[in-house]
Amino acid sequence: MTTIYRTAAAIAAIAFSFAAATADAKDKVKVGFIGPLTGGVSVNGLGGRNSADLAVRLRNADPKAKYEYEMVVLDDECKPNVAVQVATKMAADKDIIAGATHYCSATAIATVDTYHKFGFPVIVWGAVLPDITYRNKYDEVHRVNGTMINQNDANAELISKLGYKTVAVIHDTTDYGKGHNEYFSKALAKLGKANIVGTFGVTADQQDFTAELTKIKALNPDVIYFGGLTPIGVRIRSQMDKLGIKAVFDGTSGIVSDAYIQGLGPLAEGTLAFREGAPTEKLPGGKFFMDKYNAQKYDNPPEAYGAFAYAAMDMILDTIEKVGPDRKKVIAELGNVKDRDSIVGKITFDDHGQNTVPVITKYVVQDGKFVEWDDSEYAGGKRKLPGQK
């Protein structure tokens, strides 16, 4: 008998304490985060998760916040099939109001239909494929980081500004390389200062480029633009030298890696490259972000896109604070984001939910390092690229 009384008393006590807690506590609101937490790119996923978590913690510590937030974290493994499952799981949970989602382009593009179907507002924090925002016009999908379009705009702008007139394009024939070719060609044509004298599609594992490069040599371009990844970038740059081609080698984010410099040694000097995002410490709110991040003593650094994950989550929380925990209202409110301050700079979503003022970093290889163009001796005039005036 006593046991029953005791249990009843315990239950009553628990019930009372809950009631007491909720009475003066804020309403709980769930938000979501998806990224690659396991597998080859998991460092980026973990950095993003920590950064989003930081945004939630800072908000919960803020006495002025109307709600108490809880972040649900799911792992897309950078695999499209897994991503669709976890996206469905998250979107189907009506308690979760919005999510900061995906680092990998392949997973982000695979899940946009799911989010649309469930009416689940997301802000993509890392993937760069333009189609994620531009293939459909889904009100649910937004992105805080730039796309390869922005990167190529910056590329074309720099080439034109430096006074180069003729460009030969080499791109690999995957979606990635073809995308680069398309957006670079468009951007260059829009500026109208330089012409493309020839476009060459190559396979992503090609060894020998001497035939293409001989043809290019006869065309005598000022610049060779390359849309593709490091391994063939190294081969093309090296074979350019063999054939005595003096043009500027102008790459994309695909070659921004130490492997490019190791593979070429001194030949890498003067290579141009462009990448979405900026080194975190160079972002407008970079110092604030890093200080707060370090204070939390996470196991991993935020990595290149952590600040974007923070900005995405922070924007979700701002929006919920403003319109309340209601998916439809959140979507409507995210449609009005214009010149919004964030740690990654101003954010403006266009009609596709794409941030139109993203940060692009221009790089040039100087003394075996990718140096920011504006800080380099090339921009300062101390050194000159081939044909630079």
Binding site: T203, D205, Q207, D208, A211, K242, A259
Partner: protein, 338 residues
Amino acid sequence: MAGLVPAVHVLTAGVKTWMPGPMPARRGEVSNMDAGVFAQYVMNGLMLGMMYALVAVGFTLFFGVLDVIKFSHGDVLTVGAFTALAAYAGLRALGINSSWFELVVMLVLAVFAMAFLGMAIARYLVMPLRSAPALNTLLITLMLGTVLRECVRLFYPQGANPKPFPALLPRASLDLGEFNLRLDNVLMLFAGGLVIVGLQYVLNRTKLGLAIRAVAQDEETARTMGINFTAIVLITFAIGSGLAAFAGVMNGLYYNEINFGIGLYLGVIGFSAAIIGGLGSIYGAILGGFLFAGLQIVGTVLLPFASAYKDVFSFAVVIAIMAWRPTGLIREKISERV
């Protein structure tokens, strides 16, 4: 199996019929092309063709003595190139700076190491499977190729990244307008030619060559004549794999970059070249190698659409040739189809 008997009259007949493929046909169409540019294409084609031919000769040798297709051949080339690179790193660590000495040591090490690897593959993987269906050999060597490739990727320091290969040959070059004639290319072509001529000599003029040809022609009879079959097979695999190592070093010197994947592609092309030339025929393999290089260059230069299709074009032509001449351009005297 009458393949390895290289009859010169067959070659000349073949050349009359076949060489016009890439070159003269092109000349009319590109009358506006600068002579320098044309010379550059020819030079590129010769370099490519030489590497393809060296790989193709290996395929043809193995097929000659054992009637097997050894698909790990391309990856033996990769391992050879990486052996040379490791040797270079070792020599540098010892403080040796003479490029000629380095080159010789690298070549010798790579060639002998691969000759040994080739013998080991023949002894422990290919020969035990002689009585099994040919498909088994093909599969097992295909898998071995993957193992070799992955080992380079995983165990060579930072093996997944492209590696710079030292330029050890004199870098002098003659700038003739659009044509950049490089001394190192000329030296490599010359060395490659020398290797092929040397191989010819061994096969046609020495007792060893006679034994290899005898085994290729008829194993049973060769055995009854007192030829040590196993030894001849092992030596043939050693020669073929040594050639692959030579081609691997040449590949490195030519592109100044190697990576774990070079052998895969070169293997497929070398195999195709050996097939169009006529498996089992040395001349056929050489012809096939140069023909394939020619096709790729024609594909890049002359086809109006982007160069992305050059492999589609080259392999389509290979398919057409196969359909037309199933035993290759240089036919075996007795076609063996059982």
